[in-house]
Symmetry: C2
Subunit: 583 residues, 2 copies
């Protein structure tokens, strides 16, 4: 049996200015304790907008912080919702891999769909297809972690061209996969996909036993076709926990937290009408807990709601591990006998107090955990691995192998436009697109140094130069850059126009003019009526001169460039418009 702790970052109102910071700081301290006393994994949820119920919306950040505070405990996403509306699958793959790197291979990759209306509608995720979205995304995400390069995605819920998604995780082929389950069918589904089942039902050991048996029998059957490139045969169940040597004390410390957990969950998922930023769930819980089955005090035992009766009558799934170390040892044994592989305890719930949580973790580590760890566990796990190894190998053989992308596929830095779908949605004229490309080129030429611009020009043929820099929009960018760098002191006293009589290879004229004054220069497309100087040159040559790829002296001598008018101005053009101007 392995042991985990689970965080939703619950924060009942009212909130002070420091509440969220303290909540997180306490949790990190608890994880240090859990790590020290031998817990195997900390699991962190990802929820959005579920104020009071869960302030854990960036589990990756929290787990990454935890990775440097606790050096042995594993770090479980519990879970990352995979429908692409929440986050692009590439971002999920990158996040999981980077956490695996900073933690030196300690990630468990729990996945799921999410089902609260607050979250689905918040991110515009379609409820009816979220299972299919999960199916599509888990294939994409695992391929991203395995394929070098990722061969691409062309699916019902998104698409992506081939890319090498970096970094890759430490654990090969990828961290163990899990899926959130809330009922028997999902657990069965987990088995058919060869991934761990994270059961968030508060399930009794004996019922869990039936689920576990079915899980392993399906996993070992031909029905199992792995979702990832490795099989993770594990069933974990989640239970509330609070330990004290005195049973009544444990219940006193843990009952409100466990009840608020259940109430606030039901608020968001079942019965609550939620006013963002206004609803006070804690107050409503206090008012209504009796009515919905979370009564705090019982007048007549036979009138008590189910939850309370179970809490008094024995250690059941609703009570979980709230009790004495002895009671919890016995409970854990029952789950162990049922074949459950990991119990994940929820301690941080409602207003459960930090010091009680720390005390419970210490007690668990001292008085419960040792009975289930050590050599017996090692032997049992080795035996399990041996028993399943043939079935796992057979399952993996049924899986479609990683794909290979076309070796000829090339990404060009400048020409790459948006994919057709996006272009359609945010459609821009070709001119706007060329302007944007040219602008980026100029930006990057500056950033990367002149060399980069020169190299781009050097490696481009005339057609490419005409298309990108020589377009109307590209020329606008180039001339704007020139006038921005205008230095009036280069030609003191001169005021007049320079006409750039540019031509495309097909003969089309692309005239631009710059009016030069004592303070500034203004460029515009078209012919100045009375130019002091006219420069005639092909657009591509003009760009090459600007990039120092073509020597203007040579161009003059070979007739590719001609001047007409005030030649003394011609000699000062470079100085007038800065080094990267044309001339």
């Amino acid at each position: 049996m392995r042991f985990g702790i689970f965080y939703e970052h619950q924060l009942p109102r009212p909130w002070g200015p420091d509440s969220e910071r303290q909540l997180i700081a306490d949790a990190l301290e608890q994880i240090e304790v859990a790590d020290r006393v031998g817990f195997d994994c900390v699991w962190e949820v990802e929820h959005h907008f579920l104020e009071e119920y869960s302030h854990s919306s960036a589990s990756d950040v929290f787990l990454a912080a935890a990775s440097q505070r606790a050096r042995n405990i594993r770090l479980g996403f519990g879970i990352l919702p995979l429908p692409p509306g929440f986050e692009h699958p590439a971002r999920r793959a990158e996040t999981v891999a980077t956490l695996d790197l900073v933690s030196n291979g300690r990630v468990d990759f729990g996945t799921g769909e999410t089902s609260s209306g607050a979250e689905l509608a918040g991110f515009g995720v379609d409820r009816a297809t979220k299972r299919e979205q999960w199916e599509e995304a888990i294939d994409v995400v695992t391929r991203m972690m395995v394929e070098e390069p990722f061969a691409g995605w062309d699916g019902r819920f998104g698409s992506m061209p081939p890319r090498n998604v970096v970094p890759k995780p430490v654990q090969k082929p990828h961290p163990p996969l899990w899926v959130a389950c809330s009922r028997r069918e999902t657990i069965r589904m987990a088995a058919t996909r060869g991934i761990g089942a994270l059961s968030f039902s508060f399930v009794e050991p004996e019922e869990a036993g039936a689920w576990v048996d079915e899980y392993y029998s399906v996993l070992a059957s031909e029905e199992c076709v792995p979702a990832g490139f490795a099989v993770n045969p594990n069933v974990a169940v989640v239970l509330p926990m609070m330990l004290a040597h005195d049973e009544a004390e444990a219940i006193e410390r843990g009952i409100d937290g466990a009840h608020f957990f259940g109430y606030s969950l039901a608020h968001y998922y079942v019965f609550g009408d939620h006013r963002p930023g206004r609803t006070n769930i804690w107050d409503e819980f206090q008012e209504r807990r009796d009515e919905v089955g979370f009564a705090r005090h019982i007048v007549r035992p036979d009138q008590a709601p189910l939850g309370v009766r179970i809490l008094q009558e024995g250690l059941g799934s609703l009570r979980g591990a709230i009790g004495t170390p002895e009671q919890v040892r016995e409970l854990v044994s029952r789950y162990e006998q049922a074949g459950v592989d990991q119990i994940i305890f929820v301690l941080q719930a409602g207003r459960n107090r930090h010091e009680h949580i720390v005390e419970s973790l210490e007690l668990f580590g001292a008085e419960v955990l040792p009975q289930f760890a050590g050599e017996a566990r090692e032997a049992r796990e080795a035996e399990k691995a041996a028993r399943l190894s043939d079935a796992v190998a057979a399952a993996l053989a049924r899986r479609e192998p990683a794909r290979a992308s076309d070796p000829a596929y090339v990404i060009a830095p400048i020409d790459s436009g948006p994919p057709a779908a996006t272009a359609g949605r945010n459609g821009r004229s070709p001119g706007a697109r060329a302007a944007s490309l040219a602008q980026d080129l100029v930006d990057r030429a500056v950033t990367g140094g002149e060399q980069a611009f020169a190299a781009f020009v050097h490696r481009s043929d005339d057609r490419r130069l005409e298309r990108i820099v020589g377009s109307d929009a590209g020329l606008r960018v180039l001339f704007s850059g020139m006038t921005a760098r205008y230095r009036p002191d280069a030609v003191p006293g001169f005021a007049g126009s320079v006409l750039y009589d540019l031509r495309l290879a097909d003969g089309t004229a692309k005239p631009w003019s710059v009016d030069v004054g004592p303070e500034r220069a203004v460029a515009y497309a078209g012919r100045s009526p009375d130019p002091a100087l006219t420069m005639r040159v092909a657009v591509a040559d003009f760009v090459r001169i600007a990039a120092h790829d073509l020597d203007p002296g040579k161009a003059l001598m070979t007739g590719r460039l001609t001047f007409e008018g005030n030649l003394s101005i011609a000699m000062r053009l470079g100085e007038m418009f800065g080094e990267t101007s044309a001339l």
Copy 2:
């Protein structure tokens, strides 16, 4: 003057199995050193798919890890691309806030657009509108961190209903904002939006001076209308760095890294044709560095490319802080005199060695940094704050205030469907949607305990029950759940049909039948031709009985429920189909 270090996580090929892990581990160690010797901020880029150039695709994870290794240094996103195609603005707000919580308020929130074709096309982000996307997203993200609840987003590039985005950052109203700049116009734009300018051009001190002057004059003018809810008046420039007491040694240690940085940047942004997973940029760099201006050795000085000449002729922007502590002190002074607020050094570049980086950081902390820190800096910063305070207040007064959402806005957990836009895209029949809702309801009823289902039913009127659970799809879910729980031993020896003759309030018949056998039970919509038992009841009452909200005995006595046929079977229905079945 403040000092930062900048990470792209460069990783030239070839890669070993441990290369990425070691790269990250080294970087974390370097940050510990930087923190100890007095650096102010570590900046981390977010890039995707730019293998060799940048393996930093989850900067939040890396910075969160760094937050627990270094307890004083600030943590800068340098930058997070804001176009929503990379990541939903809510995820950005959540990430920034959570990092601010785990670090106790040490986040600098750098933003930008991203311009590589590899990334834009990879995420389907439209190049032509990325500036407008940034404009829209920075407004949304900052409002999410300030508004309680966020009042919603209905824009050109996305939308979101009102939600309380949690957690909120420690720094109020939000962490300092920055924007990536690569040219004078963007720096000017940063000033008009009242945010810090992160200049990624390698710019000379004197040119930087002109930029800084313009920045502060625009920021103090009426042109400044802040993007966020606080003004961050700061200009930072990025420079390569490598320090050694011997100048030649510093150049020897730093030149290849700085050159590879420039070459690989130009590869992705300007001239490279990239084959994902196949192109070897390091090898190409070795072959072509001379050709594109990154020559390693010079035969004749006058033939040397620009970059090398500058590197030898003086401390310029392309050389940056590669040299002796004395040279770098002098360089920093020039930037200080130019009015630059922060210099961000790039040490991790190309194959620069970990021990050289650590040595440089130590040298900088011992021999350069002290001259620019201490009381003089405090005084200068206080003077600057006082000088700008009126302008900042005036600018903030020009900004549109945070919005308030309609207090009557309510999220209903069950009825919330996807927004119209998504429904159109992934359109499903109303039946499918109802099935999905009903499925979630049953899932959540199990997870949250019976109480939750009961409470939902208790708080719903008949019309709502009919719509959600009483739809064709909802009934399918309910009956599937019943048959899945079928226990043949409850009625040993019996085989036959039970007809549930259900009716809606408007009289419409909704008959369902369950064929019960020795091993399993099968449910289907419609009338069994020869039922052993017929139950007649309204759909809403049927659901209420299933949820234990209506006592079947009472329903029988009041005639709301009637049986016909084998009444001994009627008495066993509850046992047959488990506790949560109808009866």
